[in-house]
């Protein structure tokens, strides 16, 4: 058997095992909308941990982090900085968000804005921006899958057909299992990825340099600037680091899928304990950096840094091991992709389509519509993956610039009654517009600062100022007994 066949067989076996666990996790449960989206709101510490961690260990971690360590150098450290701080932020906001979610039976992120600000247009805007930001994140996963199959097949299978096949599978598995299935696959892939990451991260520097210390010494000799910011770039310095870390730490739980994943927890305390221990879970992230830095000396001159991890694995280890890494990588792309698709579909169906375009739909119809949206969103991301060409980290930062704009509305709104709908709506529109203009005009970073962060600052300013001007009296959450009709369940089931 040729090496590409071995590698691809192992990858397929791991992916098949993942899909099987997913189908199993989703079966024998009646799937109504609530079960499909938030798993019946009954996940304990373990499952929530896996679900949330599962979304951190994405292709981004696996290929993107090593890729940036390879191509940019020290600026990649922002990833450790922000993930750590994102959990700190989550400690203060998620338990209360969860409490609000339980009280009002919220299912999606946009639902939260509905009960807080009672405007279906703001809700629809949040849903729309959330969906649009999800597309680059999804594109990141698809691109990752394509890279994996391309490298593992030694170039025999091109990236495009690989991406198409893998994503048909993801969409299929989301259709049948909902979030519970996704959570269990997440468990499987974390296990594989964890061992793969530790092994590769330790073994690669050891094989080529005799250890991690000597490797760093070699990098410091060969490319002295690479290990401190701005690394191999000219504009990613300390100001960029601080602004990007802040943007991402605030933006992290504003991702519609993270926001929504927190609703699946059993209690607010689960989320609080989760926030305490989660930084330990990213301890493998530096190992990915090590692999990228080792590749910098061993395989210089790769056109695309995102290939560095897989190329060095392919060069160093037998092909079955490339298959194991590729399989783990494929699952880390599929699980988050599944969650992303699920979130985008429910945002569209529940918060955008029903209240604005077609009021009067039943839950069953919305559920069906959500599944059709699954296909549409997958195709959109697939399309931009085929034609786009940004680094994996670049894609993620683009999404962050968008979702972080929810932060003032969500967090100030959660804790203060003085924040008004006009303030939040205007602030959010300003933030999104500035982020889009700066990014499209290639002004990122601007004056050394992350463009999304600049947009977020304007967002905060407008939200605060306008809320202060338009404040007329307490504007808190909706009354529980009169929660907005857009959120009430419309199926006619008998109470059980």
């Amino acid at each position: 058997m040729s090496s590409s066949v071995v590698a691809l067989t192992v990858i397929s076996a791991i992916v098949a095992a993942g899909a099987f666990v997913g189908f199993l996790g989703g079966s024998h449960r009646k799937m109504d909308l609530e079960q499909w989206i938030v798993g019946g709101r009954g996940f304990g510490l373990l499952l929530v941990w896996l679900l949330m961690a599962g979304e951190i260990y994405t292709t981004f971690t696996f290929l993107g982090a090593s890729g940036w360590a390879y191509s940019r150098g020290a600026p990649v450290l922002y990833i450790i900085g922000y993930t750590c701080l994102a959990y700190v932020v989550s400690f203060y906001i998620l338990p209360e968000l969860w409490e609000a979610a339980r009280r009002y039976r919220l299912q999606t992120q946009a639902d939260f804005f509905q009960v807080r600000y009672n405007s279906k247009y703001l809700t629809a805007f949040v849903a729309l921006v959330g969906m649009i930001c999800i597309i680059p994140y999804l594109q990141l996963q698809i691109t990752g899958l394509g890279i994996i199959v391309e490298v593992a097949s030694f170039g025999v299978i091109h990236r495009t057909p690989a991406m198409v096949i893998s994503f048909a599978m993801v969409a299929g598995f989301v259709f049948t299992s909902g979030i519970r299935g996704v959570a269990w696959v997440s468990a499987l892939k974390d296990l594989v990825l964890f061992f793969a990451a530790v092994f590769v991260g330790v073994a690669v520097p050891y094989i080529y340099f005799g250890g991690i210390g000597p490797m760093f010494a070699a990098v410091a000799r060969a490319q002295p600037g690479h290990l401190v910011m701005p690394g191999a770039t000219t504009n990613l310095g300390h100001a960029w680091y601080v602004s990007t870390v802040l943007l991402c730490a605030f933006g992290f739980y504003m991702w519609p899928h993270f926001f929504g994943a927190s609703f699946t927890a059993k209690s607010g305390d689960t989320l609080r304990r989760n926030a305490v221990v989660m930084p330990l879970y990213i301890i493998t992230m530096p190992l990915m950096f090590f692999v990228g830095l080792a590749a910098l000396l061993v395989l210089p001159g790769l056109a695309n840094g995102d290939l560095s991890l897989l190329m060095i694995v392919r060069k160093t280890f037998p092909s079955w091991f490339l298959g194991v890494i590729g399989g783990a990588g494929a699952l880390t792309a599929m699980v988050p992709a599944g969650i992303l698709i699920l979130t985008a579909a429910s945002l569209f169906a529940k918060n955008l389509c029903r209240p604005i375009l077609a009021p009067g739909m039943t839950d069953q119809q919305v559920g069906r519509l959500a599944k059709i949206t699954v296909l549409a969103i997958t195709c959109a991301a697939l399309g931009s993956a085929i034609f786009g060409s940004t680094t994996l980290v670049g894609l993620l930062l683009m999404g962050y610039a968008g979702v972080a704009q929810f932060f003032p509305g969500a967090v100030l709104g959660l804790y203060s009654k003085r924040v008004t709908i006009s303030g939040v709506f205007a602030g959010m529109v300003t933030g999104v517009l500035i982020a889009v203009l700066l990014m499209l005009g290639k002004h990122d970073p601007i004056m050394g600062l992350n463009a999304g962060f600049v947009a977020l600052c304007f967002n905060f300013a407008v939200t605060g100022l306008l809320s202060w001007v338009t404040y007329t009296g307490e504007s808190g959450f909706a009354s529980e007994s009169m929660s907005s009709p857009a959120l009430q369940s419309r199926d006619n089931r008998e109470p059980t």
Binding site: C84, F216, M229, V276
Partner: protein, 165 residues
């Protein structure tokens, strides 16, 4: 004067519960969080007035549309204790716990120009890599402290608007 008055809203319900009731705390009249409503089983209809009832262990705190009684003599809350206006309002974290959370921010974000250097290397790692990895371990410590503060606060009967932790 009894501490609390019972108001019967409904009787002879299906599912083993006898009465749907509401308790009013007389000592805190006018207070926004002075009501609890729930279900009483037939055996304890006469016993439960006089003091604020507590739910038996294991009783569901979510709104049961048709409650089942768990013990022979029991009070099952219909909802959480709630404020009269039934609006959610979030509990702000304590300043002390926020202060603990600011430590990792100061250490890994704002102070970047102090630690972003290769030398001195520690355990073979450039200093900036070492510093951030170290804070992956120290951040949970800070947050554990914050957790202790928050849960200590929560163990006191404070959540007046009826939420859980």
């Amino acid at each position: 004067m009894p501490a609390c008055a019972k108001k019967v809203l409904e009787t002879a319900l299906p599912s083993g519960c006898f009465q749907r009731v509401e308790f009013l705390d007389l000592r805190r009249a006018g207070n926004t969080h002075s009501r609890r409503s729930g279900y009483l089983s037939a055996q304890c209809v006469n016993q439960a007035s006089g003091s604020f009832p507590t739910a038996p262990p294991g009783a569901s705190s979510d709104f049961p549309s048709r409650p089942t009684c768990l013990a022979k003599c029991c009070y099952t809350p219909a909802h959480m204790e709630h404020r009269d206006d039934q609006r959610f309002s979030a509990k702000r974290p304590s300043p002390a716990s926020i202060l603990l959370g600011l430590i990792p921010f100061a250490a890994t974000c704002f102070s970047v120009s102090l630690w972003d250097r290769v030398y001195p290397t520690v355990l073979g790692l450039p200093f900036n890599f070492f510093w951030l990895i170290l804070w992956l371990l120290l951040t949970p410590l800070c947050m554990w402290g914050a957790y202790r503060l928050e849960t200590h606060r929560a163990s006191q009967p404070h959540r007046k608007d009826g939420g859980t932790l």
